[in-house]
């Protein structure tokens, strides 16, 4: 299809895959600059007529009485114009002032019948309004008006209110030429063309089927992978970063038990604790506190050790309940604290697939939580950092695993080591700890016994070796009193294949490529996966031999 000021062959149309209908990619982009007729000629589309506006004017095709007067030109020019239309067996698009001419042979029964021409219908839409529809009998060159819509006069005889429905009805039902059906199309087209959302939709009735390229021959489907995945290329050794969703470190809780008057937290020194211990067993303390509690120790909620410095306001008088201990100590004003455990960059060792799972495995040790298996593919070539958010009242902690500064994972544990005050059970406090993190035990290496080792595994590929390895549960939870005995900094335990790489392996057998490459651009050992050899002046047997050799490996 061509619409344009005398630009034969210009293809300004792209089509949806519907064989009957299509949409212009540039709807009416050239609507006001000329007209063009595109027709089938010996099986292929061909521009048969194209006129810019001045040419139309010069032919005398004037707008008169609200319809396009095709009789207004000179006899020869008119004849020429009409003959050109008459020789077109398919659609004509007339897009000057948004006109549209739809040309359909009278004897159409199916799409395949549109291969010849005798008569045709012309529909004229002027500025979005139907003004005239005619058919032309080429034998007599007589123009007859078959439909003329006056203002307010609209016919929807077949119930089709758009050109698509009308055409489908016509062809699906195998209708022969019928002025009613055609008229429906015409009247409907007004609505189509008058609507900005549909004015580019036309029917394409070019013979048997309309193919995406507008020709009568089918076009091979385009490779769907091509525009998305693109051709493969070289790689390896460099490695680039990965962008994760950005989850910031959460803020510490603002509301806490501290400052409510019900509970207070202290960070006493050892001497403070010793003094307090003496106080606890004094008759004075006992007499005071026993008024409110069954036991003096009920007023002491917990005493624990945490593995970090806790800041507070020093030299504050310590009260237990309403009892003045006469001990000045450090009062903690915030129940929740955070702690930075540092960071670690994980980089590729080789810069190959062996740096990723399942060949390379990683386990992250988190103090007071234990070992967790982390996904190698997810963390490779990134910086991991760890921060803990800790509840000083219970010792509960949540470890946040950051990737490139943003939260990725979170695990819970407990960093406090409880010091027994009496025989009372402190489990109630532990049950109150938050549990939003994953269980370290559940996240540790799964498995147990793996597959049996393959005989002769020395020469096995890396994948065979790693797959055959038993998967060992590295550790369960490390928290509470055992945590204080463990390693106090996080670290990553990394397991990677011990590669057996003969010297110059790439020279002898090459490394994987899987790219489409001109053989002339290569040097050295080359193994071809697939090739369609051409333009080689040799015998058929030699051609086969060349292909076999290329697939077996040659040195270019």
């Amino acid at each position: 299809m061509v619409i344009g000021p005398g630009q034969p062959g210009r293809n300004d149309w792209t089509y949806q895959m519907n064989p009957l209908f299509m949409t212009l990619s540039e709807p009416l982009a050239y609507a006001n600059i000329g007209i063009g007729f595109y027709a089938k000629n010996y099986g292929y589309p061909e521009l048969i007529y194209c006129m810019p506006k001045p040419a139309i004017d010069s032919l005398g095709y004037t707008m008169a009485n609200n319809y396009m007067n095709l009789e207004g030109g000179s006899v020869s020019e008119n004849q020429n114009f009409r003959n050109k239309i008459a020789t077109s067996p398919s659609i004509c698009i007339f897009n000057y002032y948004k006109w549209a001419i739809l040309r359909i042979p009278h004897y159409v029964t199916t799409l395949t019948d549109i291969v010849d021409q005798t008569d045709y219908i012309i529909y004229v839409n002027v500025n979005g309004n139907v003004r005239r529809a005619s058919y032309h009998d080429t034998s007599g060159h007589v123009w007859r008006s078959i439909y003329r819509r006056k203002t307010g006069d609209r016919s929807y005889a077949n119930g089709a209110e758009d050109i698509g429905t009308g055409l489908l009805r016509l062809f699906e039902l195998g209708q022969v030429y019928n002025s009613e059906y055609n008229r429906i199309m015409f009247t409907a087209e007004e609505a189509v063309i008058g609507d900005a959302g549909y004015d580019a939709m036309i029917a394409y009735l070019q013979g048997e089927e309309a193919y995406p390229d507008g020709k009568d021959t089918p076009t091979d489907p385009k490779d769907p992978y091509g525009p998305i995945i693109g051709p493969s290329g070289p790689g390896g050794g460099g490695g680039t970063g990965r962008v994760f969703s950005l989850i910031d470190e959460p803020a510490l809780p603002f509301i806490s038990s501290v400052g409510t008057g019900f509970t207070s937290l202290w960070s006493p020194s050892l001497s403070d604790l010793q003094a307090l211990g003496r106080k606890l067993w004094s008759t004075d303390f006992f007499d005071q506190i026993i008024k409110n509690y069954q036991s003096p120790f009920d007023s002491l909620l917990s005493l624990s050790i945490v593995p970090f410095n806790v800041s507070g306001v020093e030299n504050q008088r310590m009260y237990i309940g309403n009892y003045d201990t006469e001990i000045d100590s450090t009062k903690i004003l915030r129940q929740y604290v955070n702690l930075d455990l540092g960071s670690c960059s994980i980089n590729e060792e080789v810069g190959s697939y062996l740096d990723y799972s399942p060949y390379t495995r990683m386990h992250l040790y988190l103090p007071y939580i234990g070992f967790i298996q982390i996904d190698t593919d997810e963390f490779m070539n990134h910086e991991i950092s760890v921060k803990y958010h800790i509840d000083l009242l219970t010792g509960a902690c949540v470890a946040y695993i950051f990737v490139d500064g943003y939260v990725h994972l979170q695990y819970s544990g407990n960093v406090s080591t409880q010091i027994p005050l009496s025989g009372r059970d402190m489990s109630g406090l532990y049950q109150a700890t938050i549990g939003i993190g994953l269980s370290a035990v559940g996240s540790a290496l799964s498995g147990g016994l793996g597959t049996a080792l393959t005989a002769g595994a020395l020469a096995s590929s890396a994948s065979t070796i790693m797959a055959s390895k038993d998967k060992v549960q590295i550790s369960g939870a490390v928290q509470g009193s055992s945590g204080i005995l463990g390693v106090q900094k996080p670290y990553i335990l990394l397991e990677s294949p011990n590669l057996c790489l003969p010297e110059s392996q790439n020279t002898f057998v090459g490394y994987p490529t899987y790219m489409t490459v001109s053989l002339g651009s290569l040097s050295g050992y080359t193994e071809v996966d697939s090739v369609h050899l051409h333009d080689i002046p040799c015998t058929e047997s030699e051609l086969r031999e060349i292909e076999e050799l290329l697939k077996g490996g040659v040195i270019l």
Partner: protein, 151 residues
Amino acid sequence: MSFTLQLGTNHSEKIKADKNVTYTHTLTGSLKNESDVVDPTILVEGLPDIDKIDYMSIPEFGRFYFVTVRLIRENLFEITGHTDVISSFKSEIRANEAIIKKQESKFNLYLDDGSFKAYQNPKYGVLNFSGGTGFGVDSQSSSYILAVAGG
């Protein structure tokens, strides 16, 4: 048909396109019988250092050949050739495109084609975290926490 052939020694790998050949004999003769272009057989009389010959070029045929030499009778040798297709048509081959499976210098190491071998004993290593306040258990970096009622 008169033509020239060169006989010599190939020093390169058989699969190499650009071969290093030392031609030691240049012979001119004519075909008396029909000859196969792909696998020609030629009788040669009086050829010194015959044991070193394994390669042949016949420009008229536009081909290079791997050859085997057979003694027919005293001083008469039968040279049987088979086209070295990679060398003979290297220019035309290089004009073709192909999907390359493996290559010496153009490769993508992120592809796993199973061609790498690994020893049975994997490597283990530890990556430490650096920076940060961290935990500690000495007197300077740990604290008591006392929670009391009231206050």
